[in-house]
Symmetry: C2
Subunit: 200 residues, 2 copies
DNA sequence: GTCTATATAAGGATAGAC
DNA sequence: GTCTATCCTTATATAGAC
Protein backbone atom coordinates (compact mmCIF):
# COMPACT_ATOMS: atom_id res chain seq x y z
CA UNK A 1 0.00 0.00 0.00
CA UNK A 2 1.34 3.42 -0.92
CA UNK A 3 2.06 6.04 1.66
CA UNK A 4 -0.83 8.04 0.32
CA UNK A 5 -3.16 5.08 0.81
CA UNK A 6 -1.82 4.45 4.29
CA UNK A 7 -2.68 8.02 5.18
CA UNK A 8 -6.20 7.74 3.81
CA UNK A 9 -6.89 4.43 5.51
CA UNK A 10 -5.56 5.64 8.83
CA UNK A 11 -7.61 8.80 8.55
CA UNK A 12 -10.73 6.76 7.86
CA UNK A 13 -10.12 4.81 11.06
CA UNK A 14 -9.59 7.90 13.15
CA UNK A 15 -12.56 9.76 11.68
CA UNK A 16 -14.69 6.77 12.58
CA UNK A 17 -13.34 6.60 16.12
CA UNK A 18 -13.02 10.26 16.98
CA UNK A 19 -14.67 12.35 14.27
CA UNK A 20 -13.07 15.25 12.44
CA UNK A 21 -12.59 17.73 15.26
CA UNK A 22 -11.26 14.94 17.45
CA UNK A 23 -8.64 13.84 14.96
CA UNK A 24 -5.31 15.64 14.71
CA UNK A 25 -2.77 15.39 11.90
CA UNK A 26 -0.24 14.25 14.46
CA UNK A 27 -2.44 11.35 15.52
CA UNK A 28 -2.84 10.30 11.90
CA UNK A 29 0.87 10.46 11.20
CA UNK A 30 1.79 8.52 14.31
CA UNK A 31 -0.69 5.72 13.66
CA UNK A 32 0.23 5.57 9.97
CA UNK A 33 3.90 5.64 10.82
CA UNK A 34 4.83 8.38 8.39
CA UNK A 35 6.38 11.80 8.83
CA UNK A 36 4.80 15.23 8.54
CA UNK A 37 6.34 15.86 5.17
CA UNK A 38 4.56 12.98 3.44
CA UNK A 39 1.17 14.20 4.46
CA UNK A 40 1.73 17.73 3.26
CA UNK A 41 3.28 16.42 0.09
CA UNK A 42 0.20 14.40 -0.88
CA UNK A 43 -2.46 16.63 0.63
CA UNK A 44 -2.84 20.31 1.24
CA UNK A 45 -3.77 19.74 4.88
CA UNK A 46 -6.07 18.02 7.30
CA UNK A 47 -9.22 18.98 5.45
CA UNK A 48 -7.96 17.73 2.11
CA UNK A 49 -6.93 14.39 3.59
CA UNK A 50 -10.23 14.06 5.42
CA UNK A 51 -12.09 14.70 2.18
CA UNK A 52 -10.25 11.83 0.50
CA UNK A 53 -10.98 9.58 3.48
CA UNK A 54 -14.67 10.46 3.71
CA UNK A 55 -15.11 10.06 -0.03
CA UNK A 56 -13.63 6.58 0.06
CA UNK A 57 -15.74 5.56 3.04
CA UNK A 58 -18.84 6.78 1.26
CA UNK A 59 -18.02 4.84 -1.89
CA UNK A 60 -17.45 1.67 0.08
CA UNK A 61 -20.73 2.07 1.90
CA UNK A 62 -22.66 2.68 -1.28
CA UNK A 63 -21.18 -0.46 -2.81
CA UNK A 64 -22.21 -2.46 0.25
CA UNK A 65 -25.73 -1.06 0.16
CA UNK A 66 -26.10 -1.90 -3.51
CA UNK A 67 -24.87 -5.41 -2.86
CA UNK A 68 -27.48 -5.96 -0.16
CA UNK A 69 -30.41 -4.42 -1.99
CA UNK A 70 -29.61 -5.93 -5.36
CA UNK A 71 -29.71 -9.44 -3.93
CA UNK A 72 -32.89 -11.36 -4.62
CA UNK A 73 -35.85 -11.81 -2.33
CA UNK A 74 -39.01 -9.98 -1.42
CA UNK A 75 -39.00 -6.31 -0.53
CA UNK A 76 -39.33 -7.21 3.14
CA UNK A 77 -36.41 -9.61 2.89
CA UNK A 78 -34.14 -7.06 1.29
CA UNK A 79 -35.03 -4.43 3.89
CA UNK A 80 -34.49 -7.03 6.58
CA UNK A 81 -31.12 -7.88 5.06
CA UNK A 82 -30.12 -4.24 5.28
CA UNK A 83 -31.37 -3.84 8.83
CA UNK A 84 -29.81 -7.07 10.10
CA UNK A 85 -26.50 -6.87 8.31
CA UNK A 86 -23.52 -7.37 10.53
CA UNK A 87 -22.40 -4.17 12.17
CA UNK A 88 -19.97 -2.92 14.75
CA UNK A 89 -22.89 -1.21 16.45
CA UNK A 90 -20.98 0.44 19.27
CA UNK A 91 -18.61 2.04 16.80
CA UNK A 92 -21.48 3.82 15.14
CA UNK A 93 -21.84 4.62 11.46
CA UNK A 94 -18.63 5.90 9.87
CA UNK A 95 -20.66 8.19 7.64
CA UNK A 96 -23.56 9.18 9.87
CA UNK A 97 -21.39 10.15 12.81
CA UNK A 98 -19.81 12.87 10.71
CA UNK A 99 -23.11 14.75 10.66
CA UNK A 100 -22.52 15.60 14.33
CA UNK A 101 -19.16 17.10 13.52
CA UNK A 102 -19.43 20.89 13.43
CA UNK A 103 -16.51 21.39 11.07
CA UNK A 104 -17.83 18.80 8.62
CA UNK A 105 -21.27 20.37 8.57
CA UNK A 106 -19.77 23.82 8.21
CA UNK A 107 -17.92 22.77 5.05
CA UNK A 108 -19.97 22.07 1.94
CA UNK A 109 -17.02 20.15 0.52
CA UNK A 110 -16.70 17.77 3.47
CA UNK A 111 -20.45 17.39 3.84
CA UNK A 112 -21.02 16.54 0.16
CA UNK A 113 -19.89 12.89 0.27
CA UNK A 114 -21.83 12.39 3.50
CA UNK A 115 -24.97 13.77 1.94
CA UNK A 116 -24.48 11.74 -1.24
CA UNK A 117 -24.08 8.49 0.67
CA UNK A 118 -27.13 8.98 2.87
CA UNK A 119 -29.21 10.13 -0.10
CA UNK A 120 -28.18 7.08 -2.08
CA UNK A 121 -29.19 4.76 0.74
CA UNK A 122 -32.54 6.49 1.13
CA UNK A 123 -33.24 6.43 -2.59
CA UNK A 124 -32.37 2.78 -2.99
CA UNK A 125 -34.55 1.81 -0.03
CA UNK A 126 -37.42 3.89 -1.36
CA UNK A 127 -37.43 1.86 -4.57
CA UNK A 128 -37.57 -1.36 -2.58
CA UNK A 129 -40.41 -0.08 -0.41
CA UNK A 130 -42.34 1.00 -3.48
CA UNK A 131 -41.92 -2.45 -4.95
CA UNK A 132 -43.28 -3.86 -1.72
CA UNK A 133 -46.29 -1.57 -1.86
CA UNK A 134 -46.95 -2.32 -5.52
CA UNK A 135 -46.61 -6.03 -4.90
CA UNK A 136 -49.05 -6.01 -2.01
CA UNK A 137 -46.41 -6.83 0.56
CA UNK A 138 -46.86 -3.53 2.38
CA UNK A 139 -49.92 -1.49 3.19
CA UNK A 140 -51.08 0.50 0.16
CA UNK A 141 -51.21 3.84 1.95
CA UNK A 142 -47.48 3.88 2.69
CA UNK A 143 -45.38 6.58 1.06
CA UNK A 144 -42.20 4.88 -0.08
CA UNK A 145 -39.88 7.84 0.44
CA UNK A 146 -41.21 8.44 3.95
CA UNK A 147 -40.86 4.82 5.00
CA UNK A 148 -37.37 4.70 3.50
CA UNK A 149 -36.41 7.73 5.57
CA UNK A 150 -37.79 6.03 8.66
CA UNK A 151 -35.72 2.93 7.95
CA UNK A 152 -32.50 4.87 7.57
CA UNK A 153 -33.32 6.96 10.61
CA UNK A 154 -33.99 3.89 12.72
CA UNK A 155 -30.53 2.57 11.95
CA UNK A 156 -28.79 5.87 12.49
CA UNK A 157 -30.71 6.47 15.68
CA UNK A 158 -30.11 2.91 16.79
CA UNK A 159 -26.42 3.70 16.97
CA UNK A 160 -27.24 6.62 19.23
CA UNK A 161 -29.29 4.46 21.58
CA UNK A 162 -26.65 1.76 21.68
CA UNK A 163 -23.78 4.11 22.37
CA UNK A 164 -25.77 5.93 25.03
CA UNK A 165 -26.41 2.66 26.84
CA UNK A 166 -23.02 1.15 26.15
CA UNK A 167 -24.77 -1.90 24.76
CA UNK A 168 -25.94 -3.12 21.38
CA UNK A 169 -29.33 -4.19 22.79
CA UNK A 170 -31.14 -0.94 22.10
CA UNK A 171 -30.06 -1.02 18.47
CA UNK A 172 -31.51 -4.49 18.05
CA UNK A 173 -34.70 -3.47 19.78
CA UNK A 174 -35.23 -0.54 17.45
CA UNK A 175 -34.67 -2.72 14.40
CA UNK A 176 -37.07 -5.36 15.71
CA UNK A 177 -39.62 -2.68 16.45
CA UNK A 178 -39.41 -1.29 12.95
CA UNK A 179 -39.60 -4.72 11.34
CA UNK A 180 -42.67 -5.55 13.41
CA UNK A 181 -44.32 -2.35 12.18
CA UNK A 182 -43.49 -3.24 8.60
CA UNK A 183 -45.25 -6.60 8.95
CA UNK A 184 -48.36 -5.62 10.89
CA UNK A 185 -50.77 -8.29 9.70
CA UNK A 186 -48.82 -11.50 10.10
CA UNK A 187 -45.68 -11.10 12.18
CA UNK A 188 -44.43 -14.66 11.94
CA UNK A 189 -45.92 -15.78 8.64
CA UNK A 190 -43.76 -16.20 5.57
CA UNK A 191 -44.49 -13.27 3.35
CA UNK A 192 -45.09 -14.03 -0.27
CA UNK A 193 -45.95 -11.06 -2.43
CA UNK A 194 -49.46 -11.29 -3.75
CA UNK A 195 -49.61 -11.71 -7.52
CA UNK A 196 -50.01 -8.61 -9.64
CA UNK A 197 -53.57 -7.72 -10.34
CA UNK A 198 -54.67 -6.05 -13.53
CA UNK A 199 -54.73 -2.32 -12.82
CA UNK A 200 -58.20 -1.65 -14.17
CA UNK B 1 -27.64 34.75 37.02
CA UNK B 2 -24.58 33.73 38.98
CA UNK B 3 -21.23 33.35 37.33
CA UNK B 4 -21.47 29.63 37.94
CA UNK B 5 -24.80 29.53 36.13
CA UNK B 6 -23.45 31.58 33.27
CA UNK B 7 -20.67 29.07 32.83
CA UNK B 8 -23.06 26.14 32.84
CA UNK B 9 -25.47 27.74 30.39
CA UNK B 10 -22.70 28.76 28.03
CA UNK B 11 -21.23 25.28 28.18
CA UNK B 12 -24.62 23.78 27.35
CA UNK B 13 -24.79 25.97 24.27
CA UNK B 14 -21.32 25.05 23.10
CA UNK B 15 -21.75 21.35 23.78
CA UNK B 16 -24.86 21.48 21.64
CA UNK B 17 -23.13 23.32 18.83
CA UNK B 18 -19.72 21.69 18.84
CA UNK B 19 -19.77 18.68 21.18
CA UNK B 20 -17.30 17.99 23.95
CA UNK B 21 -14.08 17.53 21.98
CA UNK B 22 -14.95 20.57 19.90
CA UNK B 23 -15.45 22.84 22.89
CA UNK B 24 -12.48 24.45 24.61
CA UNK B 25 -12.43 26.10 28.02
CA UNK B 26 -11.22 29.26 26.34
CA UNK B 27 -14.26 29.32 24.05
CA UNK B 28 -16.56 28.90 27.04
CA UNK B 29 -14.89 31.67 29.00
CA UNK B 30 -14.93 34.09 26.09
CA UNK B 31 -18.60 33.55 25.32
CA UNK B 32 -19.56 33.68 28.98
CA UNK B 33 -17.45 36.76 29.49
CA UNK B 34 -15.63 35.52 32.56
CA UNK B 35 -11.98 34.92 33.35
CA UNK B 36 -10.10 31.67 33.73
CA UNK B 37 -10.03 31.92 37.49
CA UNK B 38 -13.81 31.79 37.88
CA UNK B 39 -14.10 28.56 36.01
CA UNK B 40 -11.41 26.82 37.98
CA UNK B 41 -12.83 28.20 41.19
CA UNK B 42 -16.29 26.68 40.61
CA UNK B 43 -15.24 23.57 38.73
CA UNK B 44 -12.23 21.28 38.76
CA UNK B 45 -11.87 21.57 35.00
CA UNK B 46 -13.50 21.13 31.62
CA UNK B 47 -14.87 17.71 32.41
CA UNK B 48 -16.46 18.79 35.65
CA UNK B 49 -18.13 21.77 34.04
CA UNK B 50 -19.35 19.64 31.15
CA UNK B 51 -20.84 17.17 33.61
CA UNK B 52 -22.86 19.94 35.23
CA UNK B 53 -24.00 21.17 31.82
CA UNK B 54 -24.96 17.74 30.49
CA UNK B 55 -26.79 16.90 33.70
CA UNK B 56 -28.85 20.05 33.47
CA UNK B 57 -29.67 19.49 29.81
CA UNK B 58 -30.76 15.95 30.61
CA UNK B 59 -33.03 17.11 33.41
CA UNK B 60 -34.64 19.70 31.19
CA UNK B 61 -35.24 17.18 28.47
CA UNK B 62 -36.77 14.68 30.84
CA UNK B 63 -39.13 17.31 32.16
CA UNK B 64 -40.18 18.19 28.63
CA UNK B 65 -40.75 14.55 27.74
CA UNK B 66 -42.88 14.02 30.82
CA UNK B 67 -44.90 17.09 30.00
CA UNK B 68 -45.66 15.80 26.52
CA UNK B 69 -46.44 12.23 27.46
CA UNK B 70 -48.44 13.05 30.57
CA UNK B 71 -50.83 15.19 28.55
CA UNK B 72 -54.12 13.58 27.70
CA UNK B 73 -55.11 11.88 24.48
CA UNK B 74 -54.83 8.48 22.91
CA UNK B 75 -51.56 6.62 22.80
CA UNK B 76 -51.17 7.54 19.14
CA UNK B 77 -51.81 11.19 19.93
CA UNK B 78 -49.21 11.30 22.66
CA UNK B 79 -46.62 9.61 20.46
CA UNK B 80 -47.53 12.00 17.68
CA UNK B 81 -47.14 14.91 20.08
CA UNK B 82 -43.65 13.74 20.91
CA UNK B 83 -42.69 13.18 17.29
CA UNK B 84 -44.12 16.47 16.06
CA UNK B 85 -42.99 18.71 18.87
CA UNK B 86 -41.21 21.81 17.76
CA UNK B 87 -37.52 21.25 17.26
CA UNK B 88 -34.45 23.00 15.98
CA UNK B 89 -33.89 20.02 13.72
CA UNK B 90 -30.67 21.19 12.11
CA UNK B 91 -29.09 21.74 15.50
CA UNK B 92 -29.59 18.11 16.38
CA UNK B 93 -30.40 16.69 19.78
CA UNK B 94 -28.38 18.25 22.60
CA UNK B 95 -28.28 14.91 24.39
CA UNK B 96 -28.09 12.43 21.53
CA UNK B 97 -25.26 14.20 19.73
CA UNK B 98 -23.03 13.57 22.74
CA UNK B 99 -23.09 9.85 22.00
CA UNK B 100 -20.86 10.54 19.01
CA UNK B 101 -18.32 12.27 21.20
CA UNK B 102 -15.42 9.91 21.90
CA UNK B 103 -14.45 11.55 25.19
CA UNK B 104 -18.02 11.46 26.48
CA UNK B 105 -18.42 7.80 25.63
CA UNK B 106 -15.02 7.02 27.13
CA UNK B 107 -16.09 8.51 30.46
CA UNK B 108 -18.70 6.65 32.49
CA UNK B 109 -19.34 9.84 34.44
CA UNK B 110 -20.11 11.97 31.40
CA UNK B 111 -22.06 9.23 29.69
CA UNK B 112 -24.29 8.55 32.71
CA UNK B 113 -26.67 11.53 32.30
CA UNK B 114 -26.89 10.85 28.57
CA UNK B 115 -27.79 7.24 29.17
CA UNK B 116 -30.30 8.16 31.88
CA UNK B 117 -32.08 10.66 29.66
CA UNK B 118 -32.37 8.33 26.68
CA UNK B 119 -33.45 5.46 28.90
CA UNK B 120 -36.12 7.62 30.50
CA UNK B 121 -37.49 8.61 27.12
CA UNK B 122 -37.55 5.03 25.91
CA UNK B 123 -39.21 3.77 29.09
CA UNK B 124 -41.89 6.43 29.06
CA UNK B 125 -42.70 5.78 25.41
CA UNK B 126 -42.84 2.04 26.02
CA UNK B 127 -45.58 2.57 28.58
CA UNK B 128 -47.58 4.62 26.10
CA UNK B 129 -47.14 2.01 23.36
CA UNK B 130 -48.24 -0.74 25.74
CA UNK B 131 -51.34 1.27 26.58
CA UNK B 132 -52.00 1.57 22.87
CA UNK B 133 -51.65 -2.17 22.39
CA UNK B 134 -53.82 -2.98 25.37
CA UNK B 135 -56.48 -0.53 24.24
CA UNK B 136 -56.61 -1.96 20.74
CA UNK B 137 -55.13 1.12 19.14
CA UNK B 138 -52.05 -0.75 17.94
CA UNK B 139 -51.57 -4.22 16.53
CA UNK B 140 -51.55 -6.81 19.29
CA UNK B 141 -48.31 -8.45 18.21
CA UNK B 142 -46.24 -5.32 18.82
CA UNK B 143 -43.62 -5.43 21.57
CA UNK B 144 -43.86 -2.12 23.38
CA UNK B 145 -40.19 -1.79 24.26
CA UNK B 146 -39.12 -2.54 20.68
CA UNK B 147 -41.52 -0.04 19.16
CA UNK B 148 -40.47 2.57 21.71
CA UNK B 149 -36.85 2.05 20.72
CA UNK B 150 -37.82 2.45 17.07
CA UNK B 151 -39.60 5.72 17.88
CA UNK B 152 -36.62 7.18 19.70
CA UNK B 153 -34.26 5.94 17.02
CA UNK B 154 -36.34 7.51 14.27
CA UNK B 155 -36.02 10.89 15.93
CA UNK B 156 -32.34 10.57 16.67
CA UNK B 157 -31.66 9.28 13.19
CA UNK B 158 -33.87 11.95 11.69
CA UNK B 159 -31.42 14.54 12.96
CA UNK B 160 -28.65 12.67 11.16
CA UNK B 161 -30.56 12.66 7.87
CA UNK B 162 -31.46 16.33 8.17
CA UNK B 163 -27.96 17.47 8.98
CA UNK B 164 -26.50 15.34 6.20
CA UNK B 165 -28.82 16.99 3.69
CA UNK B 166 -28.66 20.45 5.22
CA UNK B 167 -32.45 20.47 5.30
CA UNK B 168 -35.17 19.55 7.76
CA UNK B 169 -37.15 17.67 5.10
CA UNK B 170 -35.64 14.27 5.71
CA UNK B 171 -36.44 14.50 9.42
CA UNK B 172 -40.08 15.18 8.63
CA UNK B 173 -40.19 12.36 6.14
CA UNK B 174 -38.87 9.86 8.65
CA UNK B 175 -41.41 10.96 11.22
CA UNK B 176 -44.24 10.72 8.71
CA UNK B 177 -43.02 7.30 7.66
CA UNK B 178 -43.02 6.05 11.22
CA UNK B 179 -46.45 7.49 11.97
CA UNK B 180 -47.86 5.87 8.86
CA UNK B 181 -46.49 2.53 10.03
CA UNK B 182 -48.05 3.00 13.43
CA UNK B 183 -51.48 3.53 11.86
CA UNK B 184 -51.55 0.87 9.16
CA UNK B 185 -55.25 0.19 8.97
CA UNK B 186 -56.76 3.65 8.68
CA UNK B 187 -54.22 6.31 7.83
CA UNK B 188 -56.57 9.26 7.83
CA UNK B 189 -59.33 8.09 10.15
CA UNK B 190 -59.65 9.50 13.63
CA UNK B 191 -58.48 6.83 15.98
CA UNK B 192 -60.60 6.13 18.99
CA UNK B 193 -59.33 3.37 21.25
CA UNK B 194 -61.67 0.44 21.30
CA UNK B 195 -63.36 -0.05 24.68
CA UNK B 196 -61.74 -2.39 27.15
CA UNK B 197 -63.03 -5.90 26.96
CA UNK B 198 -63.26 -8.12 29.99
CA UNK B 199 -60.06 -10.15 30.07
CA UNK B 200 -61.58 -13.57 30.77
C1' DG C 1 8.88 11.61 -1.78
C1' DT C 2 10.10 11.42 2.86
C1' DC C 3 12.24 13.10 6.86
C1' DT C 4 13.40 16.39 10.85
C1' DA C 5 13.30 21.03 12.56
C1' DT C 6 10.95 24.96 13.48
C1' DA C 7 6.99 28.35 14.03
C1' DT C 8 2.53 30.13 15.68
C1' DA C 9 -1.50 29.44 17.81
C1' DA C 10 -4.69 26.99 20.77
C1' DG C 11 -5.84 23.57 24.51
C1' DG C 12 -5.93 22.90 29.30
C1' DA C 13 -4.47 23.92 33.81
C1' DT C 14 -1.83 26.36 37.79
C1' DA C 15 -0.17 30.42 40.63
C1' DG C 16 -0.86 34.16 42.85
C1' DA C 17 -2.43 39.18 42.98
C1' DC C 18 -6.52 41.80 44.15
C1' DG D 1 -14.62 35.02 43.94
C1' DT D 2 -12.54 36.95 40.11
C1' DC D 3 -8.74 38.47 37.42
C1' DT D 4 -4.17 38.27 34.89
C1' DA D 5 0.14 36.01 34.22
C1' DT D 6 2.45 31.98 33.29
C1' DC D 7 3.30 27.09 32.04
C1' DC D 8 3.47 22.87 29.38
C1' DT D 9 1.41 20.24 25.76
C1' DT D 10 -0.86 19.66 21.50
C1' DA D 11 -2.73 21.36 16.84
C1' DT D 12 -1.66 22.71 12.41
C1' DA D 13 1.38 24.19 9.09
C1' DT D 14 5.93 25.63 6.80
C1' DA D 15 10.99 25.16 5.63
C1' DG D 16 14.44 22.93 4.09
C1' DA D 17 17.72 18.81 4.34
C1' DC D 18 18.27 14.21 2.28
Amino acid sequence: MSTQDRLIETTRELLWERGYVGTSPKAILQRAGVGQGSMYHHFTGKGDLALAAITRTGEEMRAMIDGLLDAGGSAYERIEAYLLRERDVLRGCPVGRLTMDPDVIASDELRAPVEATIAHLKDRLAVVVQEGVDGGEFAPHLVAADVAAAIVATVQGGYVLARAAGSTDAFDMGVRGLLSLLSPSSPAASRTPSPDLPKD
